[in-house]
């Protein structure tokens, strides 16, 4: 029983890693407070759902479609809306992204009604048993794909010139500008990359999770919990925190009760916030930003 809970917690942890690695980049590195994060997961799930209903497309194939689609959407949103709030206080960003979340949620409610939707893929319905442990194929493959894409994402951030540019502009925007990095472009691209992975994650979880327009907020909260717990911007930290949260949730469901399974998560979240609590996120970087943008304009 406990081992089973451990296993399913680990699997969910892998999925959460893919969801929150995008937020690590957006919130932890770029300092954009994106409260619409989970709603992009939900949008990805609906994309996979409608592709499946319309053309019988396998959700894992939809994940590959989701990537470019969400990349473009993310790029446009950053360019059109979020960039306009870079110079302002973070409160404005919170409200702006809450507005974006509301629009996405409303749009999905309008198009798909608030009912829960599922996708049953024939090849993924059966279960795999390892000893006495049982895991559904859908979850297993989803987990493997999530781990693969998370690794890919980390590799992009660590080893490509784009990744280096992103990290440089987060560390020191003025310095990044001085060495010739196109700051607004890098920001938009990084944001788009984060959104794209999240959309993909949505498509990947579609075979074993229900989707309704309201699931987005849950993903957002979980992702923020994970990013804060992981130390805001640390990739290793995020991965470890994802596994912790996945485990915590499944243990909570096993030991407490299913309706209380999220309680320990929020408890840990508050404790993590208290232990880290130091006011604004990196006030130094905040004060850099306006001058960096002024240089450009």
């Amino acid at each position: 029983m406990l081992a089973q809970a451990l296993l399913s917690g680990l699997i969910m942890g892998g999925i959460y890693a893919l969801v929150s690695i995008g937020l690590t980049l957006i919130f932890g590195v770029l300092k954009i407070v994106n409260f619409a994060h989970g709603d992009f997961v939900m949008l990805g799930m609906f994309l996979a759902y409608s592709c499946f209903r319309q053309w019988g497309l396998h959700p894992f194939n939809s994940a590959l479609i989701a990537f470019p689609v969400f990349f473009v959407v993310g790029f446009l949103i950053e360019r059109g809306l979020i960039e306009k709030t870079h110079r302002r206080e973070q409160d404005i960003q919170i409200i702006l992204t809450l507005g974006i979340a509301a629009v996405i949620q409303g749009l999905c409610t309008f198009l798909f009604t608030p009912a829960f939707r599922t996708v049953t893929v024939t090849g993924l319905a059966e279960v795999v048993s390892i000893g006495s442990l049982v895991i559904s194929k859908a979850k297993l493959f989803g987990f493997l794909a999530a781990v693969l894409f998370t690794c890919l994402f980390v590799a992009i951030l660590k080893f490509t010139s784009l990744g280096r540019a992103v990290r440089a502009s987060a560390d020191n925007p003025v310095g990044a500008l001085l060495v010739g990095i196109d700051l607004p472009f890098v920001r938009s691209t990084a944001f788009a990359l984060g959104i794209a992975t999240v959309g993909m994650a949505g498509a990947l979880v579609m075979p074993f999770l229900n989707v309704s327009p309201e699931v987005g907020a849950l993903f957002t909260l979980r992702a923020f919990v994970i990013v804060v717990l992981g130390g805001m911007g640390s990739i290793q930290g995020t991965l470890a925190a994802s596994l912790c949260i996945g485990l915590l949730e499944s243990m909570g469901a096993a030991l407490l009760s299913d309706s209380l399974k999220q309680l320990p998560i929020f408890f840990v979240f508050v404790v993590a916030l208290y232990l880290r609590g130091s006011g604004d996120i990196d006030p130094e970087i905040k004060s850099y930003q306006p001058s960096a943008l002024d240089l450009r304009r």
Partner: protein, 316 residues
């Protein structure tokens, strides 16, 4: 200025008398969210702490009052008093560690969300509080028509506005503003920033709890997802942010624009168009952030003064 204000107040006060039932309902909602916005504004606007967990106090007030008054049959005044007391205790229990550990900005917002979510999960789980079935008040409402509710909420709104206005001009209000602008400076001038923020949180929480009690009496049905839900917190915050966080008028104007938009679209489009009100709400927030970051009241004021300046400039 004074005369136009008096006329405006007179119109608003007489409005419920000649409005139809449905519009009275809208007006009640507008005033309710205006009232909640003003209360929220003590913490969110004056003290500059963006709380996204107002639903915690809203729901706690509504639930405590309903259970004490209707299940335990305590007298009205006592139930209200105890509900507000409980919410104050909650606010202090949350506020002390939160400000002690120096949470501000985004971290404060996230902590408030976490507390509200914990409350929602607990209430959803607890059979004593009705769990997922919610808590129904006796179907017979205290007043026969909506008119009385209309005037009760207008009275609440006006008293909250007066209280806010009074607070704003006093030393305590100025101290809160200084804490918002620069905490270190505030501390240097001898203001106890932590205590001021805690006081703001308590005032805001008590006001929101009373709003919750009104909501319970008016709607006669409570559900953890709607009372403690994230949506309520966002809706309360949205009214004052959209309207403008620094003035008394902001939340009222914000609610007067957002609430009819949301309710009207829900009524116009019907059941088939579920979600439209959310889209409108979201778009309003986006527009507010991109074009009027300091609120619509301030935006309008600026547009008018700009127009006047141009007009006079052309004259001269």
């Amino acid at each position: 200025m004074k005369r136009s204000l008096a006329v405006a107040v007179l119109i608003v006060v007489s409005l419920p008398l000649w409005l139809e039932d449905y519009y009275q309902h809208i007006m009640i909602l507008v005033c309710l969210f205006g009232y909640l916005g003003i209360c929220w504004n003590i913490l969110g606007g004056l003290a500059g702490q963006l709380s996204l967990g107002a639903s915690l106090f809203f729901g706690a007030g509504a639930y405590t009052y309903s259970i004490l008054h209707y299940r335990e049959a305590l007298p009205f005044g006592m139930s209200v008093g105890l509900a507000v007391l409980l919410v104050l205790i909650l606010a202090i229990a949350i506020g002390i560690p939160t400000f002690r550990f120096g949470l501000s900005g985004v971290q404060f917002s996230m902590a408030t969300i976490a507390f509200a979510e914990m409350a929602r999960i607990l209430v959803l789980h607890e059979p004593f509080l009705g769990a997922a079935e919610g808590f129904s008040l006796p179907f017979q409402s205290v007043y026969p028509s909506k008119l009385e509710y209309c005037y009760i909420i207008i009275a609440l709104l006006v008293s909250a506005a007066v209280a806010f206005w009074w607070l704003e001009g006093r030393n305590a209000g100025l101290a809160l503003k200084l804490v918002r602008e620069h905490e270190a400076t505030a501390e240097a001038t001898g203001i106890n920033a932590r205590a001021s923020k805690l006081a703001a949180l308590c005032m805001s929480a008590a006001g929101i709890a009373i709003g919750g009690i009104f909501y319970a009496e008016y709607f006669l049905y409570l559900h953890p997802d709607s009372e403690f839900g994230f949506d309520v917190s966002v809706r309360i915050a949205a009214a004052s942010i959209f309207g403008g966080r620094v003035s008394v008028l902001g939340p009222v104007i914000g609610s007067a624009i957002l609430t009819p938009l949301a309710e009207g679209s829900r009524a116009l489009v019907g059941v088939g168009g579920r979600g439209v009100h959310q889209i409108i709400h979201g778009l309003a927030l986006i527009v507010a952030c991109v074009f009027f970051p300091s609120g619509i009241v301030d935006g309008i004021r600026r547009v008018i003064s700009e127009g006047l300046r141009r007009y006079h400039g052309r004259d001269a």
